[in-house]
């Protein structure tokens, strides 16, 4: 059986965002391609760099180093318009190609552990992005200002990072 999804015009697949309990965030989305393709777009820096930061965001990804293997490191540097950049970085705790990536978020004091899984739905992929914070307080802090969405927050974090 061959099925071809109409590529042009169709609405994007829905994205679900859910807070579970007092420490977890879960985002799910189906992609019309097999896990190896979605994994590739996530694990190759040149590809990753092209989608991780939305064009509408007031920040840009100026550099992106990804060493996608268990124990490898990543470092993303964002620009907020001025000369200074700010970095997000951590370690890949577990990498199972085409299936699962787990990483730490070490730029803050109580960073979340993020897990992405790619589940094969027969040619399509169910992607689950899961973040677990070390404490309810850490999630509460993240609740108060999303670092990814708010440039002000980014600048504040930038200051913190400089002091480290």
């Amino acid at each position: 059986m061959t099925e071809h999804v109409e590529e042009a015009g169709g609405p994007p697949n829905p994205t679900s965002v859910e807070r579970r309990g007092d420490r977890e965030l879960i985002v799910t989305r189906i992609f019309d391609a097999p896990p190896r393709t979605v994994y590739r777009a996530w694990s190759e820096a040149k590809l990753f760099q092209r989608w991780w930061v939305p064009k509408s965001a007031p920040i840009s990804l100026v550099s992106c180093d990804i060493d996608m293997r268990t124990g490898g490191r990543y470092r993303l540097e964002f620009g907020t318009g001025g000369a200074e950049t700010m970095a997000f970085y951590g370690i890949y705790l577990e990498v199972v190609p085409n299936q699962r990536i787990v990483w730490t978020n070490d730029e803050g004091e109580e960073g979340a552990i993020t897990t992405v899984t790619f589940e094969d739905l027969g040619g399509r992929t169910l992607l689950t992005f899961h973040e677990i914070y070390p404490s309810p307080e850490a999630l509460e802090e993240a609740l108060q200002g999303s670092a990814v969405a708010l440039p002000e927050q980014l600048q504040q974090l930038d200051g913190v990072l400089h002091d480290l």
Partner: protein, 114 residues
């Protein structure tokens, strides 16, 4: 006196319909702030900021207290607003990300055909 009337919900929706007021909620989530520092942060007049804060205060989202000549604002007990904001911010972010990822995936798939 704070009254827990049903229309509080309507008031908070109206209060949060405005981008500046959503910004104020997020800002206060990081710590209490005076009206004048909020006005400065959002680049608006003191009078303009007072109006925004009043709307948030009526909805129970913000509580203010005057000490001397400074009126300090903090988040009200209704912290749910911050949670809803956070969820929405993540949804918007991931929707935009994944739309771009769709394009990259199409590219890879097209390139992989012999």
């Amino acid at each position: 006196m704070v009254q827990c009337l049903p229309h509080t919900l309507d008031l908070s929706f109206a209060a949060l319909a405005d981008a500046t007021r959503r910004g104020i909620i997020v800002r206060l989530g990081r710590g209490d702030a005076s009206i004048s520092s909020l006005a400065e942060a959002f680049q608006m007049t003191l009078t303009g900021m007072k109006k925004h804060v009043q709307v948030l205060e009526r909805a129970g989202l913000v509580v203010t207290q005057k000490v001397g000549r400074v009126r300090t604002c903090r988040l009200g007990a209704r912290g749910l607003a911050a949670e809803a904001e956070w969820i929405e911010a993540h949804r918007a972010l991931f929707e935009a990300r994944f739309a771009a990822l769709d394009d990259i995936i199409d590219e890879i798939e097209e390139g992989s055909h012999d």
